[in-house]
């Protein structure tokens, strides 16, 4: 199979991830609960992962909260920052993981920067909206549909200048573009563990600089007589037993990425996306390409995008078609009616995948 759906999840993982998951399942009890060896070992595995994540994202280990996925983290962050009626500024490329919680809370949402790959327009509109008065901002680092890398450092600086708290959705950038919680000054950064970070599915991370409100209430192994959740992070947000095998795998993956260097992975993936986009254009497709593009490319196949993706799937090529759970992004790009076919490269990406894709598309055309 040629797997080009890393925007949904990375399928290839380093061998150390499988080993770590397996070892944790065999040897780890409940962390932060008992005092015996298997519980202590489990707590050590979890804390080691926190340390590695903290090093990668420039924060303290206790600011690293493990979640079930990026959506889970975003829900915690948004519910902590946004109250009913809050004025919230978002980019025109947000995923439903951002938009649905905002709508559910009754936030007054202002959408800015709907022009693809245009940083000037984004920053002008974003600044204007923040100046007009905002209680918060939420923006994605990279569009999951188009691979558009937003100017998050500049947007963060604008928020800080006007004292507006903000959340970054790093679903598509964590593990492939360096990020610093300290430097950005975000209240929260949410990310999945299973995409660019190469960990197992069912893992996510919420980096917390601000004090969050728990989404789940329950046992934490400490502060047991209190009727409320502990104030201290990460326990405040980690009610119940955490996903120790997943976290063990994630810890191994983050250690692998630290050795490989996030920059090197990013350069390779971005180069592949660029070459792939050029090939698709040469084949006559409309491709959404531009400056500030990560490892994801969307294009219009000139026919029903789901049928086109099915044609590729029949040839063993895995891509994602449709609206990618981001109708706002498609509305911004004018593709809400048609959807797009999305190709997203991963850490195992190579030029042979692009050649195979080209052959697959020619195969569909012959059909």
């Amino acid at each position: 199979m040629i797997y080009l759906d890393n925007g949904a999840t990375s399928l290839w993982k380093p061998a150390c991830v499988y080993r770590a998951v397996s070892k944790a399942m065999l040897t780890c009890a409940n962390p932060g609960r008992g005092g015996y060896d298997a519980a202590a070992r489990s707590a050590e595995v979890v804390y080691r992962c926190r340390e590695r994540v903290a090093t990668m994202f420039d924060c303290e280990p206790e600011q690293v909260v493990f979640t079930a996925n990026c959506t889970h983290g975003l829900n915690i962050a948004i519910r902590s920052m946004v109250k009913p009626g809050s004025r919230v500024v978002v980019s025109g490329f947000e995923h439903n993981a951002v938009m649905r919680p905002l709508y559910a809370l009754g936030a007054k949402v202002t959408v800015v920067g709907r022009k693809l790959f245009d940083w000037d327009a984004m920053l002008t509109e974003f600044t204007r909206a923040i100046k007009q008065g905002a209680d918060g901002a939420v923006f994605t680092h990279v569009s999951n549909v188009f691979g558009y890398i937003l100017p998050v450092e500049e947007m963060a600086a604008i928020c800080k200048e006007y004292g507006v708290p903000f959340i970054i959705d790093a679903a598509q950038s964590a593990g492939t573009i360096p990020l610093s919680l300290k430097k950005l000054g975000a209240g929260f950064i949410a990310m999945p563990g299973h995409k660019g970070l190469l960990g197992p599915q069912g893992t996510g991370i919420l980096l917390c600089a601000d004090t969050p409100q728990p989404l789940l209430y329950g046992g934490t192994g400490t502060d047991s007589v209190s009727r409320d959740m502990p104030l201290a992070l990460p326990e405040r947000l980690e009610a119940g037993t955490v996903n120790v095998p997943g976290i063990a795998g994630l810890g191994a993956a983050v250690a692998y990425l630290a050795k490989e260097s996030v920059d090197a992975v990013a350069r390779r993936e971005h180069a592949l996306a660029k070459v792939c986009g050029e090939m698709l254009e040469d084949m006559g497709f409309f491709v959404f390409r531009g400056a500030h593009q990560a490892s994801t490319v969307s294009f219009l196949p000139g026919e029903n995008c789901e049928e086109f993706a099915l044609g590729l799937a029949r040839q063993g090529i895995a891509v994602r078609a449709g609206l990618h759970c981001a109708p706002l992004a498609h509305e911004s790009a004018g593709t809400l009616e048609t959807g797009t076919v999305r190709l997203s490269f991963g850490a195992d990406g190579n030029f042979r995948q692009i050649e195979a894709l080209g052959r697959g598309i020619l195969g569909i055309k012959r059909e």
């Binding site: 962390p31 932060g32 008992g34 005092g35 202590a40 707590a43 050590e44 804390y47 926190r50 340390e51 303290e60 280990p61 206790e62 934490t220 192994g221 400490t222 502060d223 047991s224 007589v225 209190s226 502990p230 201290a232 992070l233 990460p234 326990e235």
Partner: protein
């Protein structure tokens, strides 16, 4: 003289962080559950230390802003006694 001492923490994560900080200064400690009754907040974790390390350990944790709990020494009868250093 007492032999064993413990320093309590608000969570296992903070205890682990403190243990790492002590280890960097070659101070050995053991992570364990806090004996019942020593914490007014129910279950918690602590670091167990040898008496020869306790002063250095507490000073280091204070310097780093990691000392959020209490310090106890074990008496000869096995009971724990809160201490101020």
């Amino acid at each position: 003289m007492n032999n064993l001492w413990i320093v309590t923490f608000q969570s296992v994560t903070y205890a682990q962080k403190a243990q790492r900080a002590l280890r960097e200064q070659y101070i050995d400690s053991g992570l364990r559950r806090t004996p019942m009754g020593l914490s007014s907040r129910g279950c918690s974790y602590c670091l167990q230390l040898r008496e020869k390390h306790i002063v250095d350990a507490v000073m280091l944790l204070q310097e780093k802003g990691m000392l959020s709990g209490k310090v106890f020494a074990q008496r000869k009868d096995g009971r724990w006694e809160e201490r101020t250093l």
